[in-house]
Amino acid sequence: MTTKLEMYKTADNSKITTWFKAAPVSALPENGGACIKYKDLQIAIYKFSRRNEWYACQNLCPHKMQMALSRGMIGSEGDEPKVACPFHKKTFSLKSGQNLNGDCAAIATYPVKVEEGYVYVGFED
């Protein structure tokens, strides 16, 4: 397990080789996030219950290298879904991964799908 940023690369929906069965839907809080372990990676998954959408990104906040994004509050800026790191409230788009309120590095995002009560996260292995 590592906190190295280079480990996290945005996965393109069209190039997914592995759909990892992460957790049952019931394990995730409504309108909130949780962290899953996939190999050496920590991935934050968010359930936007209000718009029935799912997002996933690296758990590592690039600002101060803290494993914390899954514990952040989620919400929207305009239409853009976002998460705020609990440490210093840096916000990141969950679509593009861009830092919305500063000039931190972008975070890696991953596609999510839900099938038969389970959440799957896509990786390009």
């Binding site: 962290c35 372990k37 919400g75």
Partner: protein
């Protein structure tokens, strides 16, 4: 290149340099400035801030580097002792001679010391320069418990505030039968006197000081009427005397009451190359002892030298508004209505300490002047109406009473002013200039207006009008000026709290569905969570994903992603058995331990999955949550009090425990801290808390709205000598009123600073129940107290809630990236 020498580097001398450099290229004028003090020019108007912690650097109008950048040769610590008008040179005390083409005298004034026997005694000071202040502070700290200020005018009351801030028993001595005799009429001065006396300041009027007594060091004052006053220190602030000795020395005419005689172009009568500005200038036997006329003179002379057209100086309006020891006082135009036949309209409310008087011309068409004490909010507009000879509304009393019967007062808003109306008199900024900045340059922030025009950077008295003007202009342009929480709620926190109560809304989602839009964000979620908790007091982890991470996991997140745990130790009192339990728990879970500033113990380095186990053990031993993670009551610190301490007059520990247990878990807009001290020595530092209680022989003094942090602020005295039940009642009302009305993440000190009417208004609401909501606030607090439950106890006993405390949802292991290193025998996060 014209050589300009400026003698004096005070506020007016500095303003001259600023205006000259702003109006002409630096290559036109070689500027040399002499200042006798060691510092560059500083803000003398706010000198008393020096006593409440401002440093000399904070008060500087510009740093030394500014003078370098502007190519101004600033020579501090250099006193000019002579002017040679034939050679056109000045000589300094070191003997150095400097030539000039134009000479500007800005030497200001010194303190006027009345000829009283004994002024040379130790412990007698004047209040004028930073050096005087250093001497006062030094002497006051070591040698004085009480102090008298000689002089009940503007400066004298400023000085009184300063010595009061030092914690000294304070007295003011005035020769005239009323305070501020040049600005206030008898009734207004009486209200001011009552207000100052309520703050504990002794006011002694009609006192002619005969002699200062004491053998070497003063011990008191003897008055001509035979009475005496025993004090350890005397600060003389009885008026100013222009520093015109240089003018006299070179044969220039000076006025009988001091000051270099100048014409309407501020030139000496005898020598057209010598100008005088500020308090050293005497125009038609008048010396202008305020900063605004000094600034006007400075820019007038700067403009003349640059060859610009100037208006002759024909006197200056001496209207003034200031906050004296927390009391608003204003005087404008002709305050006494004596210059021409007039009628006065007077409003007086002795209970609330408010006095307002306006003088209206005999024909009822113009406002001539007036006096405001206790509430000077209308000053700006009344001054404008006077200066611009604006037509009065049909019922002029509306101007001071407000419109009755639901109408807006006619012509009383900033919008009714003409564009040429002067908003900032210190910097001479007109309404039109500010309006254009907003309309044409698109400026929408007060700070930008300040930096572009200088408005509000002098005495600051015009800031309410600048704010109103900005709001009104933006509104006229159709821009949103409403105070809203964020893009998801078009309401302020206070409005949302009312909506939650009225519509009985208990969840964030319901509120968002009914009155909001979008998906929320990190601003509105915790703010609404706090509102819901302050209203319904339900277990916050039931809506865990709207809580900030600390409230979501009921612990404080620290570097490396682990959490710290703080059990409540009310009043800082703990048995040896419980101390041992904390030690054992810390040892078992290998936690770093540290004593906090709030008299309790913080256990660091717990993984999120360990939190419920740690708390299970703590709760078993009788501990409960300390809410160190919440925007809620933290601790009520105490000194040991009368049970052990030989000085204590009340049992501070017992009362602190009672208070802490009363408000434990109370969620609020920001964190809350309290303290109880058992005597005047104040070992619990209660005056730095949101509410601080200090024991007296008769009961308790209650202070409110203090805080430490990056901008420390002392708490202010709300009531004195109340019993325990009354003290709790007022804290109940105070806290609930704060919870109801504060913006999110606003500490009580900031809240009070922004609260219109300030401490007086707060006291009216809390103590005098002026809004009639006292009982309602108490009922709401009683509900919070009754429904309190320890959050950790509920989590520990609820398997479903307990299951949320894990790092991965698909693996039972903890965060594998967490690692530690050792320091002084304990662990810290690995770097």
């Amino acid at each position: 290149m014209t050589r300009i020498v400026v003698i004096g580097n005070g506020m007016v001398g500095y303003k001259f340099c600023e205006k000259l450099r702003a109006s002409a290229p630096a290559s036109d004028f070689k500027v040399t400035v002499f200042g006798e003090e060691p510092w560059p020019a500083y803000d003398r108007v706010h000198l008393s801030a020096y006593f409440s912690g401002a440093t000399a650097d904070d008060l500087l109008l510009a740093p030394r580097s500014w003078y370098e950048e502007k190519d101004i040769d600033l020579r501090t610590n250099e006193l000019i002792v002579a002017i040679d008008r034939d050679q056109k040179t000045v000589r300094s005390h070191t003997g150095v001679e400097t030539s000039y083409d134009k000479l500007v005298l800005a030497t200001g004034s010194g303190a006027f010391v009345p000829p009283v026997n004994g002024v040379e005694k130790k412990g007698v000071f004047v209040y004028r320069s930073l050096e005087d202040l250093d001497a006062i502070i030094d002497f006051g700290k070591k040698n004085a418990k009480s102090a008298a200020v000689m002089g009940g005018g503007l400066l004298g009351l400023e000085a009184a505030k300063a010595v009061m801030d030092m914690g000294l028993d304070t007295h003011v001595i005035e020769f005239a039968p009323r305070l501020m005799p040049r600005q206030l009429d008898e009734a207004g001065a009486a209200i001011l006197k009552a207000k100052l006396e309520a703050l504990g300041i002794g006011i002694h009027l009609s006192k002619n000081t005969k002699q200062i007594t004491g053998n070497g060091k003063l011990t008191g004052l003897d008055f001509a009427d035979g009475s005496r006053l025993a004090v350890d220190m005397l600060v003389i602030s009885a008026g100013i005397r222009p520093r015109d000795e240089l003018a006299k020395g070179c044969g220039l005419a000076t006025a009988p009451r001091g000051g270099l005689v100048v014409n309407e172009f501020l030139q000496s009568r005898e020598d057209k190359d010598i100008f005088a500005i500020g308090e050293v200038a005497s125009y038609q036997e008048m010396v202008y002892g305020l900063v605004a006329p000094g600034y006007e003179m400075a820019s007038q002379v700067a403009n003349q030298l640059c060859g610009k057209e100037v208006r002759p100086f024909l006197g200056f309006d001496m209207s003034t508004k200031l906050k004296l020891i927390g009391v608003d006082v204003a005087s404008f135009g002709d305050p006494f209505g004596e210059a021409e036949p007039s009628t006065s309209i007077v409003y007086e409310n002795k209970t609330r300490g408010i006095y307002k008087r306006i003088n209206v011309s005999k024909d009822g068409k113009r406002l001539l002047g007036g006096v405001l004490v206790g509430d000077a909010a209308a000053y700006g507009i009344l001054l404008q109406m006077t200066q611009n000879k604006m037509p009065l509304p049909p019922d002029p009393e509306d101007l001071i009473l407000g419109a009755r019967g639901g109408k807006e007062p006619a012509g009383a808003g900033v919008e009714s002013l003409p564009d040429e109306a002067q908003i900032c008199s210190c910097e001479n900024v007109s309404k039109g200039a500010i309006s254009n900045l907003i309309k044409i340059d698109g400026i929408s922030k007060v700070d930008e207006i300040k930096s572009c025009t200088g408005a509000g950077t002098g005495c600051g008295g015009c800031m309410p009008m600048v704010n109103d003007l900005l709001k009104q202009q933006l509104k006229a342009m159709g821009k949103q000026v409403k105070n809203v929480l964020c893009e998801h709620f078009e309401y302020s926190r206070q409005e949302l709290l009312d909506l939650v109560k009225v519509k009985k809304i208990k969840t964030y989602d319901e509120l968002l569905n009914r009155v909001g839009k979008g998906d929320g964000c990190e601003v509105c979620k915790p703010a609404v969570a706090s509102i819901l908790a302050s209203t319904w007091n339900e277990l916050i982890v039931k809506q865990d994903s709207i809580q900030d991470t600390n409230d979501r996991y009921l612990a404080n997140i620290q570097k490396g992603g682990t959490y710290s745990v703080v059990p409540r130790i009310p009043g800082g009192e703990i048995t040896p058995e419980k101390l041992i339990v904390i030690g054992e728990v810390a040892k078992k879970y290998k936690l770093y331990t540290k004593v906090t500033g709030g008299q309790r113990i913080d256990l660091f380095g717990a993984r999120v999955d360990q939190l419920p186990d740690i708390w299970e053990e703590l709760i078993h031993a009788g501990f409960e949550s300390g809410h160190a993670y919440g925007k809620s009551l933290r601790t009520v610190k105490s000194c040991v009090g009368s049970t052990w301490c030989r000085y204590g007059v009340q049992d501070a520990v017992s009362f602190a425990i009672q208070v802490e247990e009363r408000y434990r878990g109370l969620r609020s807009p920001h964190k809350l801290k309290g303290a109880v001290s058992g005597c005047i020595r104040e070992c619990a530092e209660a005056q730095s808390k949101d509410f601080g209680i200090i024991a007296t022989e008769k009961g308790w003094n209650l202070y409110v709205c203090g805080n430490g942090g990056s901008k420390p602020q002392h708490a202010k005295l709300l009531v004195t000598d109340v019993d325990s039940a009354t003290c709790l009642k007022y804290i109940d009302r105070f806290l609930m009123f704060y919870i109801r009305t504060a913006e999110p993440l606003t500490r009580t000190a900031t809240w009070l600073n922004k609260l219109e009417g300030g401490l007086e208004y707060l006291r009216d609401v809390v103590v005098n129940d002026s809004l009639g909501i006292g009982e309602e606030l108490e009922r709401e607090m009683a509900f919070m107290i009754q429904t309190y439950a320890c959050e950790w106890k509920e989590v520990v006993n609820n398997p479903e809630l307990r299951a949320k405390f894990r790092h991965f949802v698909n693996d039972t292991s903890g965060d594998p990236t967490v690692s530690f290193q050792e320091m002084r025998g304990q662990k810290i996060p690995a770097s």
